[in-house]
Amino acid sequence: MADGGVTLAQHREIDQAEFTLRKRLPRKLPQRRNDVYINMKTDFRAQLARCQRLLEGGEFNEICIHGLGLAINRAINIALQLQGNGLGALRLAPNTSTVELVDDLDPETDQGEPVSRTRNNSAIHIKVFRGPPVEGRTPSPPSLPPSPPSLLPRKPRRVCDGFAL
């Protein structure tokens, strides 16, 4: 690990009175128009409607739903709702990943050195796309859905305070 990161044991020792913890937002990545980042602040129905509109608009055959931390549940919920409403025409391809988040510890005293530490949080990326209905309940489509065009790991763009950072 980089020298900026400090091990967990060391963190425990850091006195809270001497440092202020500031959480940075996760990295922002370039976003396509069919990427939907789920958060806990926007109304659930609004987010669902947005996904529905994207799919029914005819512009896209697939959308990606991203959720981080606390929003994973909601992302899954939205994806399943979409599939339920889609009359069997939609298929899901979920992927999970880990997102590295950065916390800053700003010193309150002159002696303290500012420290940045990293911590990991889970994320989910669900691809919702049109495809032939699968018989029975057997998942695993014959060909895996194509991976996102960007080589970078997909990470959520925006997180509001509802997220468990």
Binding site: G4, A17, R24, L25, R27, D110, C160, D161, G162
Partner: protein
Amino acid sequence: MTEKKKKKTKIWYPHTSENLFSMSGAKGKKYAKKMRNQPSSVTFPSTDFGQNSGGSSSQDRTQRGNGDPQYQWQGGVSGGFQQQRGHWSQPPGPSHQGQFRGGVRGQRGRGDWQGGQLGHRTHQGYQRHSQELPKFITASYFAQARAAEVNAMLKAVKNKNANSQVFQALPKHMRRRAMSHNIKRLPRRLQTIAKKEADKTSQQKKEVSKTKSRKARRRHGNLLLEFNRRQRKNLWLETHIWHAKRFHMVKKWGYCLGDKPTAKCYRACYRAMTKHCLLQDLSYQCCLELRGAEDDLLKALARVTSTDMGATFAAVACLSGKRQGSLVLYRADHYPQEPLGQVTFIWKPKKVPSEERQLWIWTHPTSKQDLLSELLSVCQCSEPIEPRAPIPGPATSSWKVEQKAEAELLGRKRKRNDKEGEEAVALKKIIGDGTRPPNQPVSWRSETTGIVISDLTMEILRYRLIGPLSHCVLADAFKPASDCKESDDVTEGPCPWWLKHCKDADNLSIHHRQKDTFQLLKGVGSPAEIPAGTVLGLTVDDPRLNLPNKRSQSMPDPSQLQDLQKIRQLTLSGVAAECAWSSIWDQAVRDNVTENKIPEKELNHMKSELLVPGSHLSLGPKDSRIPILLVQQPGKQTGEELSGWGSGWDVLVPKGWGMAFWIPFIYRGARAGGLQEGLKHSQNKGAAHFPHDFPDCPAGMRFAKEQENELADKFKRRPPAKRPNYIKHGSIAPFCCPWQQLAEEWEIIVKDSGEEQPAALKGRERPLSAVQGCEEDLLKSAESPSKLRLGLQLEGIEVDAGVSVTESKKACAEGIAGFRVLRSRNVLRQLSVWCRPTSGKGQRGQRLVPSFQQELTPESAVSISAANPISLVWARLTLLKKGSPALHAMISIPTAEDFEQLSKDPVYCGPQEPKHRDHFKHKIKQIKKSKKKKKSPAEETSEGSKTSSPDGGVCSDLTLGLWPEPLPSVTSHCSRVTIGFVTQGDFSLAVGCGEALGFVSLTGLLHVLSRQPADRRGLVLMRNAASLQYRFAKLRIEV
């Protein structure tokens, strides 16, 4: 000649008495001017009129009997006033009687009636005559009288008044288009007069218009002369001309600054801040340089700071030069009192361990003088260093030349002779501070410690880029300087410093590392991903060379993959300390770079000579290299949401290069903002803005005073019916915030309530009824000082209660606030935890109250407020529902019923303030009336006695709708108890609801918090000054 007829032919007859009476001052003046050339009285020489006209009527006899032999025609202005006053104060009845009992009245009348009123009588007499015709007329006298009138009329017609042209005297139907310049369109009889007039005016015009033609004025040399003259009083930034074409300019703090763009771009600027890049010229900020041994500097500076507020100048990260720090400085050893201003500072990184340290303190121009004098005294720098005499050429030399040229121009014609032309070539643009006299010292040395303080105002430019793509703009606009090869050494390039610099291998390696780091920035998503306040030094090529042909938005290019591991390292630990080093710290290099700038003209010339038009111009070794410094500005750091919003980069550039760096940014799609955008930025960021949010600093106090005057003037300019009556709205101080009074009143309230019922302060989980009861007590106790004060005011004594107010005013005049703003980090953190509700929806994470925090109990609250007497706390308020807070809105405490209503009714917005009564309206009316009456001399004496009555003093500066000084109790004036005021408020586009920043009284806040139920903690009411509607708001203290 009846009254009616007189009115009709107003042109040569004076106004009738009614008209005169109703004329306002300006109108009266105009009238007097018009009547200047008119005959004031129509007379005909007859001394024995009285005897001869004896038979005409009893009325006539009365007049003659008054002893004035002249038949006065009512005409003179002063006479007119005299007459009508006399007439109106006399009821009409007696005058009629007088007409009948002429003889008797005539005798009496001689004493108290002046001759002036005769005329009036006369036409009343005529009216009578018209009804009952006279039996006979003496023809000769009648004709004489008429002849005199006709003469007067003729005279009046001949002498038209001086201000108008001949054609203006023509009736409307005879006027023609373009009569003013084509004399032939006038009637022939007037043409000669008109010609005379035209000649006269054209002569006058010629005398006045010594100014040159526009073409001559716009010639380069003359334009520059004019510009230099205009920036002598208020400094111009280097981007001034650019801004002046696009911005509303204001003269502030000795500078001409762009306030806001003339285009409608409020939202566009906000979008630029959140999505792309907003550019701001902050070159008006002043830089103070401190040089000396590290220990000496730190020892001296420790006196003006306090560790209570967090890290100081000595913070490890800042001291190494890696980070920029931010602080509030205080007067030496005065810590909780007398702050001077907010500063940011950068230390120059060490190259050699035992090196003389260099520190730059950046401050706002309003607080510069205070800070400079304090720093001088702290560092004992008393010995001014003479500025190097003739070398710092451009500004001083241009100064002299300009003055000479101007002196010559005074009595000179447009055409220049050769000698003057030569001098005009020597004329130079003012770079740097043009208002400063050339021999004023700018640096001071201490004899004991050797510390040198210099004032680098306008020496270094500062541009701020705000927004997530600001480093995309930077990366596109800058090209790191190419190295100098040994072979280039022979040719003398325009930047000799770079040649010297590159000879050192260390310098070169640092430059390469800086270059690599800068390239890495392209891979970072937003400036918020880099540690706050990171400093990166850089040397770049002339940014004018790789200017794109068209303005376009620079966007990140995901196809260019960066080394992810390196980027991760950068985001985690920031830039290494060596990379923060830049040659911009070196005065010699800065001067060199400024002097050797290739002028725009030459560059364009070179570009035009390119073989392929529009291709890239490469100067090779001749290219200038400019040392710059990039400083990361952290975005929103406090609070839980939108963290990192509004982060960006500050670019520090040596002077003279302003436009050369500005235009490339603009061409990369950065949108320019002014002062207003800067204010909005800090408001959305939740950061205190200097000087708005520093009411305890001298600069902040001055600002508040200015703002108050400005707002009051604006208010008074509107007609009374079209402006809010603030008294009826219950807003005592709509234009300024009486902080001192607020803080003091809360001290009294809490003391009183504490003495009365100590048992009431039991604990936090108290039933609603108890809270309610407490609120009532609060109101009562809040009223008591107010009553005291009001009572005194009504009695007109203003002795004891006024003392504190007057004292505080005195202090304000000296620039010292009687109150404090709480800036102790520990206390603020404690308060911030207490302000949050302990339970409720969406309040995760509140359970984790850090171990070092105390529980909120009345005892702990009392101890905190006792430790910080008369203090204010800076707080951030978010409206729960509708509403947009405005400047100087009131923050008040909700009662228990309000909470009940809120929980019952989901759409309940808030309580209403009952309308107040305006007691002063009546008084103002009285004063107005008495002023009118004063005109009659008879009543003057009684008026005089009235104005000397006790309320006369208060009445002196009454304005309808504003509370006169002294103010009544601020806290208890309304139905809800006030704890604070808003200093900035608006609908926040970032959050999507109304947001405000303001101060509340610490004592008041603790009082509220300890009495509110746990799940409603931090909920307050807010009301705009011009509204009766209270709205619920969430109060947060963010650290």
